[in-house]
Assembly symmetry: C2
Homo-oligomer: 343 residues x 2
């Protein structure tokens, strides 16, 4: 059943039926009732392809994931996208997913701009001096960046975790608990987020006039074995740490193994805080009460970023919009259930 057939059945013009269904104010309320009832009864659904052509809007947001074919899918993307999809479906939008390596990236964006398959895009995993930002500005496609390019000083919309503050708070908490020697086990610091995390760690040490010690700062891929070797090295050091601040749950498993190996006991001899984007994925079963765990809610970020983008599309004058997400703290202890609080 299409609009024409429905209007014929009702003895009204397509226009009136369309207006009634789309809640245009000028329609007689009685007519509107009648139309909506008939639409329901005949299970009428507007053809989205036609609507899109007629309105000139794709009602679709593009997510282009930077990824070469050998790389694995980062669950962070999944969480973020899950949040975004929720926002889209609430407003009648769809999400279109594309993969792009650095070579194909530019042509993909140009293609999107030219053929109008999307009304806007989310930029994932910004790099340093990311060319996508000026490109999208040039193409005049509405966009929101998930993360930031700190080298780009132009006005653009972004949403980011406050990684610096999160690690500042976590470090501060450990210092307040009496720790003076805190080992940071961080991700690759060539990536923006990891670098910001180290800054937060250093900020807190600086505030408390605690000298930083390069032997207590480790950086590397987020794997269990890296956690193990970093913690082993740190514990063998002349100035062994009394606490660890770890950037990922998987890494923390390695840290835990090293602590074990050294004959120490977590929670008694040594404190560990994990600060992890991905924590939610592993946290299902109260698996980590022995750790003090902090979770950066990526899904909420995705939902917010999507909402920002739709707002920009509806009201371009609103741009640029920015959002800095604070990390909620979830405190756990080895003796009891996980409790909630704020540092």
């Amino acid at each position: 059943m299409n609009l024409k057939q429905l209007s014929l059945k009702l003895g009204l013009s397509q226009t009136t039926v369309s207006r009634a269904l789309n809640n245009y104010p000028e329609v007689n309320e009685h007519t509107r009732e009648r139309v909506k009832l008939a639409a329901l009864k005949h299970n009428y659904r507007p053809n989205t392809r036609a609507t899109r052509l007629a309105t000139g809007r794709a009602m679709t947001i593009g997510h282009i994931l930077p990824m070469n074919s050998t790389e694995t899918f980062n669950p962070i993307f999944g969480e973020f996208i899950a949040g975004a999809v929720q926002a889209y479906s609430k407003r009648g939008y769809e999400l279109s997913l594309t993969l792009a390596n650095e070579d194909s990236e530019e042509s993909i964006y140009r293609e999107l701009a030219a053929n109008g398959t999307v009304d806007g895009v989310i930029v994932h995993s910004p790099r340093v001096n990311d060319m996508r930002i000026p490109l999208l500005q040039e193409l005049n496609i509405p966009f929101v960046v998930h993360g930031r390019d700190f080298n780009n000083l132009s006005d653009y919309s972004w949403l980011d975790m406050n990684n610096r503050r999160a690690f500042y708070q976590a470090t501060k908490l450990l210092i307040d608990l009496g720790h003076q020697s805190i080992c940071l086990v961080n991700g690759r610091e060539t990536l923006n987020f990891a670098w910001r995390r180290r800054l937060g760690y250093l900020d807190a040490l600086g505030d408390e006039k605690i000298a930083s010690d390069t032997a207590l700062m480790h950086t590397g891929d987020l794997t269990e074995s890296n956690g193990y070797s970093a913690a082993t090295k740190a514990l063998a050091n002349g100035n062994p740490p009394t606490a660890f601040l770890v950037a990922s749950y998987v890494v923390a498993l390695g840290v835990r193994r090293a602590i074990h190996h050294a004959g120490l006991e977590m929670g008694r001899d040594i404190s560990v805080i994990i600060h992890d984007d991905e924590l939610s994925y592993f946290q299902n079963d109260g698996d980590i009460p022995q750790f003090t765990a902090t979770r950066l809610s990526v899904r909420d970020g995705g939902e917010l970023a999507a909402t920002m983008l739709l707002d920009i599309i509806d009201e371009p004058s609103n741009a640029p919009l920015t959002a800095l997400m604070e990390a909620p703290l979830v405190i756990g202890a080895s003796t009891g259930p996980v409790k909630s609080g704020t540092a």
Copy 2:
């Protein structure tokens, strides 16, 4: 630049230009050359919204992920979808992603069928007696199931890992190495894939006339702590295992911890095989040479399932199509680099 403008510029009709660009045979080769050159020069891109309306095809495949809003995003979905997207973009299709809980599911599918936003769908995570299969059959939407509903005897298209065979092979390998007491640490066996894995394990034991021992079969959520407790329990048993067959890398980390705790050494006193859909995610850095690891390539599955679906859409008479993916074996040892082989 649209078709009309381009054709005007060329002094040809829209029809001819369209035909030239779409490789219709009746066009003069010289004309075609001229048209294609001009299209390139003026950066002409057909408006997808218009093409879709005119052809009646959405050029889009829907992936509807069953997920309530509290659940976390399963990285398996990510890998699978990454593979699917590659297949789609090769054939000019897009992927549209939706989340659905069990309540909203039916209406979402009915909506898709009625408004024509997708040409087909992939069904993820089939449940026992999954209503989506008969529903899609009724709605006449082309679809491929990722997994199987063993309770549904109708003809439908699916792609699945051969979980039974994979675990059969892995168990067989351990038996060939001389193990007689093999502990299975499995996922929740109410899920189809885990249940099939146990069957494979039991098949192999049966083939070799080894009695199964319920004390050596553990089932539960795929977490580190479950791995730890399962392995601890197994090792404390009267008939302790000499080998573990573990259904996930994260679980295996817990198993490793338990082995350590028991004063044993992996690779010397005890063997461990991991059989994991998600292994690729953790495997980046050769993290697991001490394990013998097997990887089920989910991404390849996604690509194949997508290709199957597009083939069905192009040639409906081909359906139903089915594919059983075999798990390639990747063998590692504690002393050397990871090697490839087949059991």
